[in-house]
């Protein structure tokens, strides 16, 4: 059996599945209870599992992320919702100084089975500080895993995998895709490998690497490129730390031209890491330098300008063209 759901519904179903199958799973966050979260990702879950397993916290991100860490010590498996991207900043110390270091502090013996869900990114015409893309802060912070789904199915599967992973996972939810169409999902999500990229469109002339909401942009660009006679392979990175090295190297080797797309600022963003790895490891196979299409090195603009600031299919196409003409 399968059903068609939106991405936010897939997240909710995955959470429900985890709560059902793992009696030690517990959800924490602001307004996730009766209200079902400001995006309604947890709608109905408090009713189903009770207020001890779906917990409305006081407004204190450092406090409840820290408490989730403590809960792990006594055997719970907390899944925390951060209400919006920029509101994870107050919890940064707990994540960097504790979450990422805990297994290491036990010489590998005990990890923290902790998931931090962060609805992130622009394109929703939201107020200031509701459109940030902070994934690089976490992928640069040792001890954390960072992943981002790009559609309902990957959202469900990766969330279930993150909950089973045994180490802290920063789970970035591209909120602009929350209600962007429906897709078939199974009744029960399988926990797939967390650190595999996925080729979502085959192609041989240029590869476009992206994650989260940018996968859709990459696909749109690939469509336009196809119209121009260029075949673009689109790779959904999915795991932002660690990157799927095999897929990266294979893609670069096979295709030779690479464009990396992300919403986060450019300087030391994920695309820089991909470019650095590729030129380091497979320079001889690159037919053109790796090009980056990213967010700007400025605060995410007020929303009347967001379409200009966000990577667009047009910008991706022109980057791809540049590598093709190199």
């Amino acid at each position: 059996m399968s059903t068609k759901v939106t991405m936010v519904e897939a997240v909710g179903r995955a959470l429900g599945q985890v709560l059902e199958e793992d009696p030690r799973a517990i959800l924490l966050g602001e307004d996730i209870g009766v209200n079902g979260g400001v995006f309604r990702a947890t709608a109905g879950l408090q009713e189903r599992f009770g207020p001890d397993r779906v917990v409305d916290t006081p407004l204190s991100e450092a406090g409840f992320v820290g408490a989730a860490i403590g809960m792990c010590l006594v055997g719970l498996h907390p899944i925390v919702e951060i209400q919006f991207d920029a509101f994870v900043y107050p919890a940064f110390e707990q994540l960097a100084s504790h979450a990422g270091r805990f297994r290491w502090r036990t010489n590998g013996a005990y990890g923290l089975p902790l998931v931090i869900r962060i609805p992130y990114g622009g394109g929703t015409k939201a107020p200031e500080l509701h459109s940030d893309s902070p994934e690089t802060l976490f992928s640069h912070t040792p001890g954390l895993r960072v992943v981002a789904p790009s559609d309902p199915l990957s959202a469900g599967e990766m969330l279930v995998a993150a909950a089973a992973c045994g180490d802290p996972v920063i789970y970035m939810e591209p909120k602009r895709l929350y209600r962007r169409g429906r897709a078939e999902v199974p009744d029960r999500f399988l926990a797939l490998s967390l650190d595999r990229a996925q080729v979502v469109r085959p192609g041989a002339d240029v590869a476009i690497l992206a994650h989260g909401a940018m996968v859709e942009v990459a696909l749109e660009a690939a469509e336009q490129l196809a119209a121009e006679g260029a075949s673009a392979r689109v790779v959904d990175l999915r795991s932002l730390y660690p990157l799927d090295r095999d897929t990266l190297l294979r893609t670069a080797t096979e295709v030779g031209r690479v464009v990396v797309v992300h919403e986060a600022p450019r300087h030391s963003g994920l695309a820089a890491e991909v470019a650095a790895i590729l030129q380091e490891e497979v320079a001889d196979h690159l037919l053109a330098p790796v090009l980056r299409v990213t967010g700007m090195d400025m605060p995410f603009p007020l929303f009347q300008l967001e379409d200009q600031a966000l990577p667009s299919a047009a910008r991706v196409v022109s980057a791809a063209r540049a590598t093709l003409e190199y």
Binding site: D56, L59, F87, Q304
Partner: protein, 366 residues
């Protein structure tokens, strides 16, 4: 606006909650008339007019949001008393640190109303002139504006300027670490700052009892060695008096004050919120009886300080002002990305140069 008539002394839902909160409107009729007379007609009318403008702004914003002219908007219906009372209790040299919920208080400082409306329209022309208005940009991350106010207050004392700073926040904001660090720092530094917490009993869907175990937010002041006062947040006159006292205290060099303005969030958290999901609509309906503009108007008419017509005209003028402001929004051009990029640093680095913002391409020779 509610029909104006005789002030009622039995305002059920808040009565218990308001216990111990300083009040003017809740006084027995004679004493209330006396208190209002003591404040004087010019001030009480000014307070009423300010509330009327805030209300009109808010109502207009909600309409503009429905029309798609602006984006998500955090309405403050019912919080006009706290906002008008506090702004008018301060001088222009004093600093305000509003949150999203006090998004139009700049208007009471002389800022054209289209400016805050443009912010919700996502246009950078919505950023007001911080220095001219002595008002910080609207703060979105909860509680982070408290330390700013402490620094501004403390700094102005160090500069011998005797300016006071006032930071707004909600009941939920008191759970954040920044609230705590700010209160503690202010008390240690004896900074002339006022922490004005509007306790509307909800942080989005989270009721006060899940936010804190204390019943009175003002009680939190004792942890810092500063006074905490509680005021009826639906009573503009009481709010004005409480903030005036706190400001006087600050100016005397006696340091910070925590002011809790008790009320109720009569509307949704914002235009995207649906309160019926998490609270009984009846409760908001009952609290509506305390709604500050109707209450203040009744009291002014009752005290002979204003006529119902005069007050109705203030409301109508304000509505016209805000409607006109809303009509002007489309006139404001959206700046280019290049212009905005040039506003991030004093000396714009190459990373934000015009060429970087356009097509991605390979480097030129150097």
């Amino acid at each position: 606006m509610r029909e104006l008539g005789a002030a009622s002394d039995d305002l059920a839902p808040g009565a218990e909650l308001m216990e111990g909160a300083s009040t003017v409107l809740g006084l027995p009729t004679d004493r209330r008339r006396e208190a209002l007379a003591r404040m004087g007609r010019p001030l009480v009318l000014e307070l009423f007019a300010a509330m009327a403008r805030l209300r009109a702004f808010d109502e207009r914003a909600v309409i503009l949001q429905r029309q798609g002219v602006i984006g998500t908007y955090p309405t403050y219906f019912g919080e006009e008393a706290v906002q008008a009372g506090s702004v008018l209790a301060l001088e222009d040299r004093d600093w305000l640190f509003p949150t999203y919920r006090q998004n139009s208080v700049v208007v009471l400082r002389g800022c054209p109303p289209e400016v805050p409306l443009l912010l919700w329209r996502g246009n950078p022309a919505g950023w007001h002139d911080v220095q001219a208005l002595h008002t910080a940009p609207v703060c979105v991350p909860v509680a982070t504006n408290y330390p700013h106010a402490v620094g501004a207050a403390w700094g102005s004392r160090l500069l011998g300027a005797a300016s006071v700073a006032l930071a707004y926040g909600g009941d939920g904001s008191t759970s954040e670490g920044d609230f705590h660090e700010a209160c503690n720092l202010a008390a240690v530094a004896r900074a002339p700052v006022i922490f004005l917490v509007t306790n509307n009993q909800w942080a989005i869907s989270t009721p006060l009892r899940l936010q804190t175990r204390v019943e009175r937010i003002a009680d939190k002041a004792s942890a810092y060695g500063m006074p905490g006062v509680r005021v009826d947040g639906f009573d503009v006159f009481a709010c004005h008096l409480a903030v005036s006292e706190a400001a006087a205290r600050a100016r005397r060099g006696d340091g910070p004050t925590l002011v809790e303005a008790v009320g109720y969030r009569l509307g949704p958290h914002g235009t995207a919120d649906e309160p019926s999901l998490y609270r009984d609509p009846e409760s908001a309906r009952r609290w509506n009886a305390w709604e500050p503009i109707g209450r203040a108007g009744n009291a002014l008419v009752d005290a002979g300080l204003a006529s119902a017509d005069e007050l109705a005209k203030l409301g109508a003028d304000a509505a016209a002002e805000m409607r006109e402001a809303g009509d002007r929004l489309q006139d404001f051009p959206v700046p280019s990305l290049e212009e905005v990029a040039a506003h991030v640093y004093r000396d714009t680095p190459w990373t934000l140069g015009a060429e970087r913002l356009r097509e991605p391409t390979f480097g030129e020779e150097v």
